[in-house]
């Protein structure tokens, strides 16, 4: 299958055109030795005859710079990706901004490969009545030029035909030499390159594009407002609040459906299979594991869908500038805000979206602190513990406690970022320079394809890890078999014994052995805490939700000597511990994958556990003292 490299400046609609050509027949590809990702897709010509493999390379402003995206483009053109030399290039240029785009195109065309130039955004260029003559441009560049619009689909068949012809014709070295003679030399200075592009634009367009002054002035005003220190932050808060409200509300439905589905499948499995290890493994290990993976999926999909819409609309680049000032104080930049905000839903998509951050150290710092943000998995734990804490307190207490938990997590995260940037990740803060793409109606089709892609990546990588962990966790809590009821099983199992053995470590926090088992099991995933405590309190197996019954039972748990487990001090300490502790193996797995080494997950785990332990110790001592006794 002939391979075609798709190249272009960022924001030229390259990916939109790629999606038009390949649709869902594409997968995300990681390029070796780089955090930048691209996509590889197959394209069938309409008659189904020819098949092409298209590689969507990351958008880059230059081929010669020493930045990750430029390196990937160069490597691909030199045949260093999969060891396959591309057979041709599709260079996408933005017809509304030819002057800059042609400079990049010239750098691409200097590579000795057959090429087609796609003159994208042709519909917009025509509206602006800029009459670039594609035939004249083709003559000046020495390769076919096809006007096309990725948004409307106009001209896509012509690209098809051009690519087909290119791949079916034998390699024409004369044409190549002729093309190279028309281009500026490879070592041309930026100014010379710009002058060449200017000449080509002037020669191939009948008149300059008219710029709509009124529209530009309006965009100026919108930009001004959205990047304003106060107005901009305000707008940002409102948009993000709406984003998260819709994620929590909309995702709740499919999430409970997934829970219900896997619950009933597990019941069905138990009904069909005889009682025993196999039934337990399937129902409690595998099915619960798969359910545990899939339950994250609605939130992740929605988050990526909405963020993609926001990005496409042109808003995200403005928002980065609005929050940049604040983030800079903590050694982060405007680009780290969206990942950190996403982490309030779940740290996994948050960490996955740090790829936008250009500076490596800043990206590592963002990954490091993302799990401090109070994710939705902590929510059931907060509900349970705050429920116990606020018995006999005024009604506003619970609300304040919830807000305090979120603030504590975010504050600890930002301070950790500051600390990391002063010590292990010391480096100059890279100033923010970003292209602000024009405001556009976002494309639902693109957003859906991005979501599809992300969901695939999540299921393939994080999903398998989570599943494995669930099975191991099940094994730890189901063996050795005692034959007793759930409570005895929990205490006697490996997990229970480990909890017993570790209990002295948590004793200063006021945790007894039952609470320690709860904390230990939640090291795999926090939400497990509620069901473990439910089981230990004898509320039965289906105690996944912290309803009133479970709450009362857990609150009235007693130690072996008959004193209550949850004194105010212990409960507050446990709450603080859960806010700050790294209790999510999937996050560690994703951190490992995104940073490429075990060092960062180890630092993340060590530091967060340390902070959580010390903070819980301090809270236990302080509350204990205030209450007048341990």
């Amino acid at each position: 299958m002939p391979r075609i490299a798709v190249l272009g400046n960022p924001n030229t609609g390259k990916t939109t055109l790629f999606n038009r050509l390949c649709g869902v027949r594409a997968r995300t590809a990681n390029f070796p030795g780089s955090t930048v990702e691209g996509r590889i897709g197959t394209h069938r010509s309409p008659d189904g005859r020819a098949q092409l493999e298209l590689v969507d390379l990351p958008g880059s402003y230059s081929l010669t710079l020493d930045i990750p995206e430029a390196r990937v483009c160069r490597d691909c053109l030199d045949g260093a990706v999969d060891g396959v030399m591309p057979d041709a290039m599709l260079v996408v240029v933005d017809a509304t901004n030819l002057r800059r785009n042609l400079q990049f195109a010239a750098q691409c065309l200097l590579h000795r490969l057959p090429a087609v130039v796609a003159l994208n955004m042709w519909d917009v260029a025509r509206q602006r009545s800029s009459c670039v003559d594609p035939a004249e441009l083709a003559r000046r560049l020495g390769c076919p030029v096809v006007p096309v619009s990725g948004r409307t689909g106009e001209g896509v068949p012509a690209v098809d035909v051009a690519l087909d012809t290119l791949c079916s014709l034998p390699f024409d070295s004369d044409a190549l030499v002729a093309r190279l003679q028309k281009l500026p030399p490879a070592d041309a200075s930026p100014a010379a390159l710009a002058a060449w592009a200017d000449g080509v634009v002037q020669a191939s367009s009948a008149r300059a594009a008219s710029i709509d002054e009124g529209r530009e002035a309006m965009v100026d005003r919108i930009d001004e407002a959205l990047t304003h220190p106060l107005l901009g932050i305000g707008a940002f808060m409102v948009i993000m609040a709406a984003l998260f409200a819709s994620i929590f509300m909309v995702a709740a439905v499919p999430m409970s459906l997934i829970d219900l589905l896997f619950g009933s499948v597990a019941t069905a499995v138990r009904a069909v299979l005889p009682d025993g290890i196999l039934a337990d493994l399937l129902a409690d290990g595998v099915l619960r594991g798969i359910g545990g993976v899939l339950v994250f999926l609605p939130q992740i999909c929605l988050l990526f869908f909405l963020v993609s819409l926001l990005e496409d609309s042109g808003y995200l680049a403005r928002a980065a500038f609005a929050v940049d000032r604040v983030m800079r104080r903590f050694g982060l930049s405007g680009l780290s805000f969206v990942p950190l905000l996403s982490s309030h839903a779940c740290a996994l998509p948050g960490i996955m979206s740090t790829r936008l951050i250009r500076d490596d150290r800043e990206r590592l710092a963002t990954i490091l602190v993302a799990p401090f943000m109070s994710c939705s998995a902590r929510l059931p734990v907060y509900v349970l513990l705050i429920g116990i804490l606020s018995v006999g307190k005024p009604p506003w207490f619970a609300g304040v406690a919830f807000a305090a938990c979120y603030a504590l997590g975010a504050g600890a995260g930002l301070l950790t970022a500051l600390l990391a940037r002063r010590t292990i990740l010391r480096g100059p803060a890279r100033p923010l320079v970003l292209e602000l793409p024009p405001y556009r109606i976002p494309s639902l089709r693109n957003a859906a394809l991005v979501t599809w892609d992300r969901a695939n990546v999540f299921l393939r990588n994080a999903g398998t890890t989570i599943l494995a962990i669930s099975v191991v966790m099940w094994w730890l809590s189901a063996f050795p078999r005692t034959g007793g009821d759930a409570r005895i099983q929990q205490a006697e199992s490996f997990a229970g014994r480990i909890g017993e053995a570790i209990q002295p470590v948590f004793a200063p926090l006021g945790f007894d052995s039952q609470l320690t088992v709860g904390v230990m099991t939640s090291f795999m995933a926090r939400e497990v805490f509620v069901s473990t405590m439910g089981v230990l309190a004898g509320a039965g197996h289906d105690a996944d939700v912290a309803d009133q019954r479970v709450l009362e039972q857990v609150a009235s748990m007693t130690r072996t000597d008959g004193t209550p487990v949850f004194t105010t001090a212990t409960c507050a300490a446990a709450l603080v511990f859960f806010v700050l502790a790294m209790q999510c193996l999937p996050t560690l797995a994703v951190t490992r994958r995104e940073t490429g080494s075990w060092k960062w997950p180890a630092i993340q785990f060590g530091w967060m556990t340390f902070v959580a332990y010390m903070a819980a110790l301090a809270v236990h001592a302080a509350v204990g003292m205030a209450a007048g006794g341990p």
Binding site: Y61, S62, L65, D66, I67, T96, N97, R99, R100, Q103, F104, P190, A191, A194, A209, I211, E213, E216, A217, V219, D220, D223, E224, T227, A317, R318, A320, F321, D324, R325, P428, R430, P431, L432, V433, L434, E435, L436, P437, P438
Partner: protein, 197 residues
């Protein structure tokens, strides 16, 4: 300049304060003006202007500086960015005392254009970029700026002044954080239609 305009912009010392200080303290040399709220001890931009005020006062003239405050501030900004005063003649002490006509700061002309930081343009104003002073930026950032379309002598239109700075080159809008933008020197294009004061 009016009496209430600041001569020393670092320490916000107005011309009126300086004149009152001279009337009261009778400084013998211009450097004693630094006792007036530390005038001239910051970026040193105003030192020649302080000398000039002192010389005028010593000759019994009414001390004044024939330069518009905005222009004055713009040139100071340029001085601070480049460390040189290419378009100002630094008068020597003896010139003041000889009573010769003191040259006023030279106006900008085509051979010696005024270059001010990008951050000081107004919204809607157009300017020509001078990238030759971008040397303090890391190599990578500088090349990226070039590749994004901001090359030497290109024309920009300011969409949002200040920090962050948003400029338009052709149809591309670039957002540039303040610390980079203030290192980019530009020559404003006069008589820009649509520029807002």
């Amino acid at each position: 300049m009016n009496p209430d305009d600041h001569v020393c912009l670092c320490f916000r010392v107005s011309q009126r304060k300086l004149v009152n200080f001279m009337e009261r303290e009778k400084p013998r040399v211009a450097s004693q003006l630094s006792d007036c709220l530390g005038a001239g001890t910051g970026c040193q931009w105003c030192v020649p202007f302080l000398r000039r005020l002192h010389a005028q006062w010593q000759r019994g003239e009414t001390p004044e500086l024939p330069v518009a405050p905005a222009e004055y501030a713009a040139r100071r900004a340029q001085y601070r960015a480049t460390g040189t005063r290419p378009d100002i003649e630094v008068e020597t002490e003896s010139q003041y005392h000889s009573g010769k006509a003191i040259p006023t700061p030279m106006p900008a002309d085509s051979a010696n254009p005024v270059r001010i930081p990008l951050t000081q343009l107004r919204r809607g104003q157009r300017a020509i970029v001078d990238c030759s002073e971008l040397m303090d930026l890391p190599e990578g950032d500088r090349c990226l700026l070039h590749a994004m379309g901001m090359h030497h002598e290109c024309e920009v239109r300011v969409c949002r002044s200040g920090t962050p700075c948003i400029v338009q080159i052709d149809s591309t809008r670039l957002g540039i954080s303040g610390e980079v933008a203030k290192k980019i020197l530009v020559t404003p294009i006069e008589d820009t239609p649509g520029a807002k004061a």
